[in-house]
Symmetry: C2
DNA sequence: GAGGTAAATTGACCATGGTCAATTACATAC
DNA sequence: GTATGTAATTGACCATGGTCAATTTACCTC
């Protein structure tokens, strides 16, 4: 059960890997990231990468998690939405980010569950934070009579999550030649899900 | 635009591939299926498999699609549900099937969208049928006052789909040591989503 | 039944993620 | 400083899905 703290060398290696991977991602996109390219540019062996991250998705999860956290910061800073459409507006940047690349969606979905233990993972932490944020919004909006009160804010928050994933899944299956965005597809679901009863 | 009908030889090869693959799946499960094993047991070259199916998922999709169709037959045969809990009961077998293996869920999710064109694919056809079935249930239940009428049956049907995927995604992320099943997790969402408005 | 043509199949080859026994670098005790 | 144990890293190797130019097979026409 005892384990020493990691040495600086290890921290540097990890930082280098993330730096290189981040750079590749920003210039070429998530789906263009190759393990071989990362380790080559980072100047380490392949095995090293996999001693730092469980697998390629684990590396991606850290990068994606950071982006998601940034979006959550933005969302949180804007305060409680004034209406249901306002929720859609708040969600729009995050939705657009995920919609840019299927692998983002895949990684998020894979790590998404775990609304419970194992908070150590970045993605998991992001999801917990997201659900918590939604729930706090909804709780306040319930008190203001803006959303239904016959169901707990937590369940409503989870439902939003479900609809987010739904519209994104559809998004990736379609040719979206039209100007439809995931956010606009989300709106009717949120209305029906959250609108106050009578 | 002209193209001849496939020869018997081709149909036989395809049937053989599906037969072998189906057998492997039933004895070892979907996630244990290997392309090399299939082609070896089918007595054909690797390239042949990929001339019949776009990729490994394409092969899996045919097998999974058949199973899904079977479940839809069952569901349809039972007639319109008498209540919201009844919907959950109808859904339970399908849900359990998907819950047995992550790759089933992944394949279904990948091909799930396409509520539109390209009906040729098995999975797509299954999804369209599923949504249609849900919608017809809900339409009838609306008339009987069993589910809310302030939203179209089609949107409600899509929402059920979203919740199905949601509880399944959670299912695969958790250690389900407890006796919780995807179906029981689904119930509260369906209640909140469908319950008539006062 | 010869020749031509398109369908069907082949299998060597590639791309890519991931493994693990062996090796090197570091820290700590003496 | 030297020994010793552990952390960190290495890179040859493997597993597996997928490609495609070349080859074989079936069909059609004269």
């Amino acid at each position: 059960m005892k384990s020493r703290a990691p040495q600086q060398r290890r921290l540097q290696t990890r930082a280098k890997l993330l730096e290189v991977a981040g750079q590749i991602v920003t210039t070429q996109g998530y789906s263009a990231l190759r393990v071989d390219e990362v380790v080559e540019q980072a100047g380490v062996a392949k095995g090293t990468l996999f001693s730092h991250f469980k697998d390629k998705d684990g590396l991606l999860a850290v990068l994606i998690g950071a982006q998601v956290m940034g979006h959550l910061d933005q969302m949180e800073a804007q305060g409680v939405p004034h209406s249901i459409e306002d929720i859609t507006r708040r969600l729009e940047p995050l939705l657009s980010f995920i919609a840019t690349d299927r692998v983002i969606f895949d990684v998020l979905l894979r790590y998404s569950g775990s609304t419970g233990a194992k908070v150590d993972e970045v993605i998991t932490a992001g999801f917990i934070r997201q659900i918590t944020l939604f729930a706090s919004w909804l709780s306040e909006m319930q008190q203001m009579g803006l959303v239904r009160t016959d169901t707990s804010a937590e369940l409503l928050a989870e439902g939003i999550q479900a609809f987010l994933n739904h519209v994104l899944a559809l998004w990736f299956c379609m040719e979206h030649s039209n100007e439809e965005t995931p956010a606009t597809a989300l709106e009717p679901f949120l209305q029906t899900w959250l609108r106050p009863v009578n």
